[in-house]
Subunit: 328 residues, 2 copies
């Protein structure tokens, strides 16, 4: 086997991860740094985190061995369209000692490739937000949702949190005692589950607790919904069912009826063994009974695999993928 | 008849209106000034607008004749709890030459009183936002919704605008050509109804056009929905039906089943002769078949009526109300 090395980077909002691989799938090193999304953090900061993660992955590797690299990040198209951003990434790549070219792909494609080697399929991601995309020949094709919390991200963590608060407020309006989920939400937001003598005061305190923070913080309530649903709480269970239906509806906007290509589930709400993941699998299985359902894995390794598969030495990319992502 | 005068003020976000009445319902003067909501404009500015409207109403009236006054405004409870705000209003009252006491009520109560003299009933308001309240003995009792655009205001102008954009984005995701409403929304937001060769670019441009502005600006799209529904456009018609159901559901949180007290419809979306008003009337009529449905009218006159009805000289407040708000 050649001593050629590929590197992959998965640049996320909260962390940047890098992996260096041989073409037989041996992990030579990994690196981790802070969040490096150029859209939210600025290109310079993102490039600095990228360099830091890269150095970690290459600590024991001669950079001259690296023949190809791939960077996956949200807003990849925006970076590629921005000469200053692109220059900052070029500089980091060069400062890491790398002389080979690198490709930039959307994080959704990298998440897809961490779940399957099939060139065509669907990626569905639900975390703070929600987005789904068709993949064709390992390129992102049509996209659905990902419209952000104000207009979309239906079925996401934000959506679960907001809906849980809305159900609580409806209960308080109607003079109903909140159930387990409502009680947990109320305690989280206002520090106590006691209803004021004038219930409208509790309503106002709840609304104010939410509106004091950026709206996206509502996503932090999603784990309360998932936990309550696991305990069989009816409001939470209904919300999980509804979220799964919304996510499957988004997939249905772009995925053909009867498609047999794989669907990869990504994002914190779907890669963990949550009731939402189970509900989404059931919903997708009902709509696309012949689709293999996969779970997204190590994004940095998937990015490295995307880099490797274009090298002439890699004659069987599927075998390399199977080695990197053994099915449980 | 005595020469006693009462004054009423309706303080809103975009205008402040004042009316001076005799106890037989003769309008002696009206005044109008800029928006004076103390929550959004600050108490000093609100008090200045109030004084300006008051002077207009009292231009031809000796202030010594004024025996009582009522001020209706959103966030009345907040003003009453704020000594500085209360002092600013006291000063404006005094600077207007008035020596009598005045009462402060929520704008929802004043809207209710502009539609009926019945002491008990329901007020439902849908404009930019949406709120409903039970009125008991001409005091606001339980309230539903009014939770703001992030968490509630379901069925409001904001809601209609946001849902119209969401339907448009779903169409664009799915590769469907938008209908008449979607076309109107797209033109309003991005200046053209042409779909980019890569439809995701049109999706992104639409999302960006919305997120560049404060979220509440989505309410400005509501008239497009109302107009399209009037033309029978199916998406708009469905949204109007859904909004009416949401508004009736909010009423159902607080209004007892079988109640026969009046329901007053207020707010720009329900006082105009819109399809939404028609749909809400139908929905309320179905749920509460014995409820008289009324439409809110002149808030300043209603505030003045609330002031008058507590005076010992006013022996028949209902007759005065009927005189002020003749049924068409």
């Amino acid at each position: 086997m050649s001593d050629t090395v590929v590197v992959g980077l998965d640049v996320g909002g909260t962390s940047t991860r890098a992996t260096a691989l041989t073409l037989s799938g041996e992990r030579l090193g990994t690196g981790r740094a802070g969040g490096g999304n150029p859209t939210s953090h600025g290109a310079e900061r993102a490039a600095a985190e990228l360099l830091s993660a890269l150095r970690g992955a290459l600590a024991d590797v001669d950079p001259a061995r690296v023949a190809a690299g791939t960077i996956g990040l949200a807003g990849a198209a925006r970076l590629l369209a921005d000469p200053a951003g692109r220059a900052a990434f070029d500089r980091a790549w060069h400062d890491g000692g790398l002389r080979c070219p690198y490709a930039v792909h959307g994080d959704a494609l990298v998440a897809y490739a961490s779940g399957t080697a099939a060139p065509d399929g669907t990626i569905l991601i639900a975390g703070t937000g929600a987005i789904t995309a068709q993949v064709r020949d390992l390129r992102l094709d049509r996209v659905a949702d990902g419209h952000g919390w104000l207009l979309g991200d239906t079925g996401s963590g934000f959506w679960l949190g907001r809906e849980a608060v809305r159900r609580l407020l409806a209960d308080l309006d109607a003079g109903h005692t909140p159930g387990t989920l409502g009680t947990a939400i109320l305690t989280e937001l206002v520090g106590s589950a006691d209803i004021a003598p004038r219930p409208r005061d509790t309503v106002d305190a709840t609304v104010q607790a939410v509106t004091r923070q950026p709206p996206i913080e509502l996503a932090r309530l999603a784990p309360l919904v998932v936990t309550a649903a696991t305990d069989g709480e009816p409001v939470a269970t209904a919300l999980i069912t509804e979220a799964a239906a919304h996510l499957a509806e988004s997939v249905g906007r772009i995925r053909p009826t009867g498609a047999q290509t794989p669907v990869v589930l990504g994002g914190g709400l779907l890669t963990a063994d949550t009731l939402l993941a189970t509900a989404v699998r059931a919903e997708l299985g009902r709509r696309w009974p012949d689709a293999p359902l996969r779970t997204a894995g190590d994004g940095a390794a998937a990015a490295a695999w995307l880099a490797a598969r274009d090298l002439p030495e890699v004659t069987d990319p599927s075998a390399l993928h199977a080695h990197l992502f053994p099915t449980p």
